[in-house]
């Protein structure tokens, strides 16, 4: 095996630079003659812009430009597109309102962009921005789903009646209704999936730059997918020819979905840079991030599960209201639909499922994909209602799950909600997790806690998710306006070193290490000889970026395909050098060998020959560099079991996670150290959602949780030490067998935590506690139950 190949916990190649403070994040870049931009944002949730007086701002020291929505409207550019179209039940398309990079006449959420002020320095830009006088006429706002769907509610968009963007459904309604009609028991539950603010620790930033000599435009941006941003900027928001536009996403400080999207500020800095013919930089202050980064989740759901006498699931019916905010962000329409409804089978054999989703506009920040994106919402619905069903039927919650699991011999398994799962072993991950969590001995721990006056509970979730979206033809049929393949280029240098160019983007995931391990494994060379390059559209042929845990399953597969092409071409060269027929040469552990002999050439010798082709096969091109595009054949389906144990102080409602165990099935693991780290991070975000985090708007649409002072981010002391491991079945349809790991932690954990909280309080008569289960909520639940 190659040194540092697949399966080894190789220490990361990224770390030395990041640990020495030598990372290069967008805000670290200083371009020659760079100017600075500040965005003037709406303080109102909904208002008409009556008048903008800019004289004072324009006269302010160092100001180079003040640009408003009127300037933008005059040029007829700057409309930020959405990349996903959803159709209503009646077949008509969703309402797709415009999204101007600067508002000309109406603002629709606190933080909406009103003007861009560019000055010589950051302080001058911010000072001048504060001098811009915008006269608003305040209008009534809807800040929540409940407000938006009230009859006669103020409209975010006049063309969206009842504030409805779309009214979508999925599944077999007739079969579902029929199953409910004959069910011996129906369990129902009302759930809120709380709105979250992503808060990658690096705030978004962007620098636009225009080269007067070549006419080329460059955008440096905090993006998870620079090629997609280039495509959207080139083809939609701006109209710059793609070959004259370069997008660079250098080191990026976390994304979690929030940096997938094409944001107005990216357009604005490019627009200003081209006008001023100077680089223009904008960096968000954290409070700007809160009101301009796309938020996540925000569902209100009524779910019903039909069971027969022995606990077999007969049907699931789900009705969800989803908040999309004021505008449609890049992937937004697809998240509460195709990333949600299709996951409602979970790991169960439920034969009939019907899901309705009404998505509404509100005067809030756009809502889009956030770590898990639709799948945490689905897992939460399922795993909460299965627990509720266990309590109501008296069937043990573990046995009820096991009874309804898809069995290992049933794969490939066609669910009633379109997806076909390729592999999994839900019983195995469940058994392992229960054993490691000490499930069997829990009642003793509960009694011991009770003796101390504490309420202890244990909860589990068994989840499935879908990664590596998706065969492009399928994606197209679901309304995606792009292909979802991935690209890799493998460049073998004459002296045997290798550079891999990948269209995925790493912003913490460690691709520079794992993708190098793949090359080391396939080529039989040390991992130190492989460099991974990503994030620059001028270097990488193309790419769709990183989201939906797709990088290894789709991007890694493209790398494998390109490596296989390199190996195949090398075989022709080696056969010629070895004076053997190509069919007699095999490649193993970095050497081409004539089968059954000791005659061989190393990969390095072959690489050198490719560039110094003195003794070379006739008709074969010199050089050793291959590009591959990989279009996935299916989604991949990670799954697993999470077990959470909590202790609640009944006097204060304070809930502490005292133990958390996860056993996940993520397919083939390239680097177990990185896989474990990905799960840890997801768990903290899931525990954060369950116990701490929540975006709060008041009724007037003011963002109350508008900074890190008011939004409860998990700290080191809020989370436990996690016990995580994997039990993997291989993906059957991609060359690596890998499924994806980036989001599993955030998907499986919220229901496990809430199931544990409810378990701790169930003896008091508490049936449900909404997320975040804050001390106040838990305290109230205890008090109300005691009163009842």
């Amino acid at each position: 095996m190659a040194q540092g190949g697949i399966g080894e916990a190789v220490r990361r190649k990224e770390d030395p630079r990041l640990l020495r403070g030598r990372g290069t994040y967008t805000d670290d870049l200083v371009r020659p003659n760079q100017a600075y931009a500040a965005v003037v944002r709406s303080p109102h949730a909904h208002a008409r812009i009556r008048h903008i007086r800019s004289d004072a701002a324009r006269r302010s020291a160092g100001v180079l430009a003040v640009l408003t929505g009127a300037d933008l409207a005059a040029e007829k550019i700057g409309n930020i597109p959405t990349g996903w179209q959803i159709f209503n039940k009646d077949g008509t398309p969703m309402v797709e309102p415009p999204h101007a990079a600067l508002c000309a006449d109406e603002v629709r959420h606190v933080g909406d962009q009103v003007a861009l002020v560019v000055a010589e320095t950051k302080d001058q830009a911010r000072e001048a921005a504060s001098l811009l006088e915008v006269e608003y006429e305040e209008l009534p706002a809807v800040a929540s789903i409940a407000q938006a769907v009230k009859p006669g509610a103020p409209l975010v968009w006049s063309q969206a009646k009842g504030n409805t963007c779309y009214d979508w459904h999925f599944g077999d309604k007739a079969a579902t209704d029929a199953a409910f009609a004959k069910a011996s028991r129906v369990v129902s539950l009302d759930l809120v999936n709380n709105r979250l603010i992503p808060n990658a620790i690096e705030p978004r930033a962007a620098i636009g730059e225009y080269d007067r000599s070549s006419g080329d435009t460059t955008l440096f941006t905090t993006s998870q997918n620079p090629h997609l941003t280039r495509l959207l900027l080139a083809a939609f928001s701006y109209g710059i020819p793609e070959h004259k536009l370069r997008v660079v996403a250098p080191d990026v400080g976390g994304g979690f979905g929030s940096k997938i999207f094409h944001y107005p500020e990216e357009f604005l800095v490019v627009w200003a840079a081209r006008k001023l013919e100077r680089p223009v930089k904008w960096t968000a202050q954290r409070s700007e991030s809160f009101m301009s980064d796309a938020h996540g989740r925000d569902h209100v759901t009524h779910a019903e599960l039909a069971l027969d006498k022995d606990g077999t699931f007969l049907a699931l019916r789900v009705r969800t209201l989803a908040n999309l905010g004021a505008y449609l962000s890049t992937f937004a329409p697809g998240i509460p639909t195709w990333f949600y409804g299709t996951l409602l089978a979970g790991c169960y054999r439920t034969p009939a499922i019907y899901c309705e989703v009404r998505a509404v506009f509100t005067h809030t920040v756009p809502v889009d994909a956030y770590r898990g994106a639709g799948r945490p919402e689905a897992a939460y619905v399922l795993e909460r209602i299965v627990d509720a069903a266990a309590r109501e039927t008296g069937i043990d919650r573990v046995e009820l799950r096991r009874h309804n699991f898809i069995r290992p011999d049933q794969f490939p398994y066609q669910t009633p909600v379109a997806l076909q799962y390729d592999s999994g072993d839900y019983g195995a991950t469940l058994d392992l997790a229960l054993e490691r969590a000490g499930w069997a001995g829990f009642e003793e721990r509960r009694a011991e806690a009770r003796a101390r006056g504490m309420l202890r509970g244990i909860g589990l979730s068994t989840y499935v998710e879908a990664c590596g979206v998706a065969p492009s033809a399928v994606a197209g049929s679901l309304g995606v306006r792009a292909g979802l393949y991935e690209t890799a280029n493998v460049r073998v240098h004459p002296t045997g070193g290798v550079t891999i160019f990948t269209g995925t983007h790493s912003h913490g995931q460690g691709h520079e290490t794992t993708f190098a391990q793949i090359a080391a494994e396939y080529l039989g060379i040390p991992v130190e000889q492989v460099e991974v390059s990503h994030g620059d559209t001028d270097k990488v042929p193309f790419g769709m970026g990183t989201y939906g845990s797709r990088s290894l399953a789709v991007g890694g597969s493209a790398v494998v395909k390109a490596l296989e092409k390199v190996i195949a071409k090398g075989k022709k060269i080696a056969a010629h050098l070895l004076e053997a027929s190509e069919g007699d040469v095999e490649f193993k552990e970095g050497k081409y060998t004539v089968k059954g002999t000791d005659r061989s050439k190393t990969f390095g010798e072959v690489a050198l020959t490719a560039y110094v082709p003195h003794k070379y096969p006739a008709g074969l091109e010199p050089g050793l560099e291959e590009t591959a595009f990989y279009d996935p054949k299916n989604w991949t389906f990670p799954g697993g079991c999470h077990v959470c144990e909590v202790e609640i102080d009944p006097e204060t409602g304070v809930t502490r996670v005292v133990a958390f165990t996860g056993v996940d099935d993520v397919g083939r693991v390239v680097n177990p150290m990185i896989v474990e780290g990905q799960v840890h991070g997801g768990l903290a975000q899931g525990i954060g959602q369950a116990l701490l985090e929540g975006a709060v708007y008041d009724d007037a649409g003011q963002l109350v949780s508008g900074s890190l002072l008011g939004y409860a981010m998990p700290r080191a002391s809020d989370v436990p030490s996690y016990a995580v491991g994997t039990h993997n079945t291989l993906c059957t349809h991609n060359p690596l067998g890998s499924k994806g790991v980036g989001e599993v932690g955030a998907i499986g954990s919220p229901p496990a935590v809430i199931n544990a909280v409810v378990d701790a309080l169930a003896h008091l008569g508490v049936r449900h506690v909404d997320m975040p289960a804050s001390p106040e909520r838990v305290w109230r639940a205890i008090r109300d139950a005691r009163k009842a």
């Binding site: 976390g254 780290g677 997801g682 700290r715």
Partner: protein, 155 residues
């Protein structure tokens, strides 16, 4: 404009600065030491943590003029003779970083903890790190790294 003189990573620095200039702005924008990051505007995240006279300070809460006559160490000044410091090395060994953005502040803060309390327990480590937010790691491997650096050879 006030003139200040201080030591940054062992080198003498003199600068004329606006009175309102923050220490983090002096480091990043005037001295080009971009390893110190800015992650928030309310002194919550800790990404800008540096050492002033050997003690961790959020450099967004300190004016540059307050650093006059003092000694500042940033993440760039932690490695000695090209070798990662024990804390930096422990973060690498235990995968205590992912995106790397909170990392400089985390490492500076943890280095101060270990110098104050070499035998810090896990609970003490977690409590100390309350002023540093990480969104990637779930803190598990950061805590492991700090433990290992606190007790070399015992983890």
């Amino acid at each position: 404009m006030p003139s200040i003189a201080l030591e940054v990573n062992g080198k003498r620095v003199a600068a004329d600065v606006e009175a309102r200039l923050l220490l983090v702005e002096l480091l990043r924008e005037r001295l080009g030491l971009t390893g110190t990051h800015v992650g928030c505007d309310t002194s919550q995240c800790g990404a800008c943590t540096v050492h002033v006279d050997g003690r961790s300070v959020k450099s967004c809460t300190m004016l540059a003029v307050e650093a006059d006559g003092r000694s500042v160490t940033t993440i760039e000044g932690l490695a000695r003779n090209g070798e990662l410091s024990p804390m930096q090395a422990a973060f690498r060994e235990h995968h205590g970083l992912q995106c790397g953005f909170c990392t400089p502040g985390m490492v500076m803060s943890a280095t101060d903890l270990v110098s104050r309390n070499p035998g810090a327990t896990e609970a003490q480590i977690r409590e100390w790190l309350e002023g540093n937010i990480c969104r990637c790691t779930g803190y598990e491997n950061i805590v492991r790294a700090v433990k290992a650096a606190a007790r070399p050879g015992r983890s």
